[in-house]
Amino acid sequence: MASVEKIVDPDKARRKIKADRRMREIMANYYMEAKTPKAQRGKKIAWITSGGPVEPLHAMDVIPIYPENYGAMIGASKMGVPLCEKSEEMGYARDLCSYARADIACATVAGGPIGGLPEPDMLVCCNNICGTVLKWYEVQARYYNVPLFILDTPITHTTFNDDMRRYVTRQSEEYIAFLEMACGRRFDYDRMKTVGDLSIRGQQLWQEILDTTMHKPAPMTCFDAFFHLAMIVTLRGTQTAVDYYEMLLAEMKERVAQGIGMLPVEKYRLVWDNLPIWYRLRWLSEKFMERSACLVADTYTSGWTSWMPYVDQTDFLGFMGESYARIFLNSGTDLMAENIVRMVKKYDAHGVVFHSNRSCKPYSFGQYDIQRIVQKKLGIPTLMIEADMVDERSFSESQVETRIDAFIEMLG
């Protein structure tokens, strides 16, 4: 039977992204430093939400640790289900985000990838991504008995006004005061300037990397972006991230110049919406590849550059509150739909794949409306896959496969 003809790819080795190795090294070093016993390490550790302003932490030499990045590791290493079950035994509802469930459970067991996260000295929580993180971080602040700073960002449905601006700017000042207290020394404004510049540079580079997929064939797919994203999340604001992304960008440009695509055959170009399904990355990427469908862009990895228009290089701190409040995920359905429409045009895509993610409510809530808007504005086919980013119990292989197949047949 040959529903999908197996593509023999003599160029497989050539298609592999060489920078991958360096990326793994950097991430290993990052976690190694963080996991060094406190006495030797010297530096303090802050756990921070993925959309939180990390730059002031770097300016104060605090190591930022991302439970959400760890959640992705848990998902990718297929450890999600036992940890989610454990949290449910502890009394947490199955409807709670699986990053939160996995992280809360993981803290209580000696296990998980890399043997668990290093304990925090402080917690920094910004609710620009969701409301879940508030309670999640409160739970962890109690568990570890460490101070918690909350940066409350109003939702930016369509516009941002002066009251909102004042509100978040004031909190940025409080954040600095919190750090001075937690670290026991004055804030380093000079260092902050450098970190701010590096953060902006890192984001520019990341966007440039993502934009190389405008080229046909695309030198990478969103599955590669999901991997290389870890750097902009965890090491945003460092020279390491800038250096790495320069290297990766050079490689992508080289691939473009040589016409090396990530897929042996690129017949369809698609945009992905929502978080990856971490435990099925390989399966999904192969499914789409076998069908010559290239996921050229996604709303998730570009989310880390979605606030760039609001950053001011000359006054990073002054605009930090506003720019972090205006990230993609903190906006309304209209803006989210507009963003996807823009991406489809920019990357010349034939369709959109929506992952309706049981865990992530702010991301998934408006998707049916967004789907309708996209179809109306662009008249292109879209696909809705129901799953969860970490909790495999919400994934059904044959059902997802049927949907993907039917979608590709529709693109036909």
Binding site: M1, P381, T382, M384, S398, Q399, T402, A406, M410
Partner: protein
């Protein structure tokens, strides 16, 4: 050109053989435990009905949940695309399909050539599927085949509001306890399937003429409930259950 379509679903396996756009024969058997064997068997039976040798068949397309296990097929195509092709063949005017099978329900919108424009599926939950009806038939101790005709005698459908099969079943039991008539309860069950499936279908812009396919199309009560919710009549072909297999046979010729 003679082509065959084999549709292996969760409950039944179907086969259709087509020659140059003309339907030669069809066959339905229960899938049972082994979907691969069921596919083989239903195909062999269809051939036997025509006293035809397998060698006469030029191309075979497999569809349905068991499509990838049919190793003698030339190609696998999803039931969504096959239903659209089959419905278009049975009635070229059709623009939407509501398909309720044993374990899932789906809505498909098609263009004037029988190609899929959009689709949506419920396959995560038993509510709104044939399985839901089975559970209810058991709770009411009524033969499922009698459900459709019985419900036509209802004077007022009993309200069943739960979307979940387990909750709906306990609602049915409390309705029985309260003395609601069996026919009214059955009508209520059909109305609840109708409401659920139609809201799903409306999401993709279902538009008439609508054809109903799948095994549940045999239940006149569900058909009426869907019609009431959609405010349009449904076209139900005598081949409702075979639409996917016929579509697969037609696609094999392309």
């Amino acid at each position: 050109m003679i082509t065959a379509g084999v549709d292996v679903g969760s409950i039944s396996a179907k086969a259709a053989i087509v020659q140059d756009g003309e339907l030669l024969t069809t066959c339905v058997i229960l899938t049972g435990y082994n979907s691969r064997d069921a596919g083989r068997q239903v195909y062999d039976q269809a051939l036997a009905q025509l006293t035809m040798q397998a060698g006469r068949i030029d191309k075979i397309v497999a569809t349905g949940y068991g499509r990838n296990s049919i190793d003698f097929a030339d190609k696998a195509v999803t039931e969504i695309t096959c239903h659209a092709a089959g419905a278009h063949y049975l009635d070229p005017q059709i623009r939407s399909i509501i398909d309720i099978g044993g374990q899932d329900s789906k809505a498909i919108v098609l263009d004037d050539t029988g190609r899929v424009k959009d689709f949506t599926m419920n396959d995560k939950c038993a509510a709104g599927t044939g399985r839901f009806l089975e559970v209810m038939a058991r709770a009411l101790q009524v033969d499922l085949d009698a459900f459709g005709t019985l419900s036509l005698a209802a004077d007022k459908a009993a309200p069943i509001s739960s979307l979940c099969t387990v909750f709906a079943e306990s609602e049915v039991i409390s309705l029985i306890a309260k003395g609601a008539s069996r026919v009214n309860i059955i009508a209520g069950i059909h109305a609840s399937i109708g409401a659920r499936v139609v809201s799903m279908a409306k999401r993709i812009g279902v538009r008439p003429p609508v054809m109903m396919t799948g095994g549940v199309a045999k239940n006149i009560g569900v058909v009426r409930a869907l019609e009431a919710k959609l405010a349009t009549t449904l076209r139900v072909s005598e081949y409702a259950q075979l639409t996917g297999a016929i579509g697969a046979a037609l696609l094999a010729a392309r």
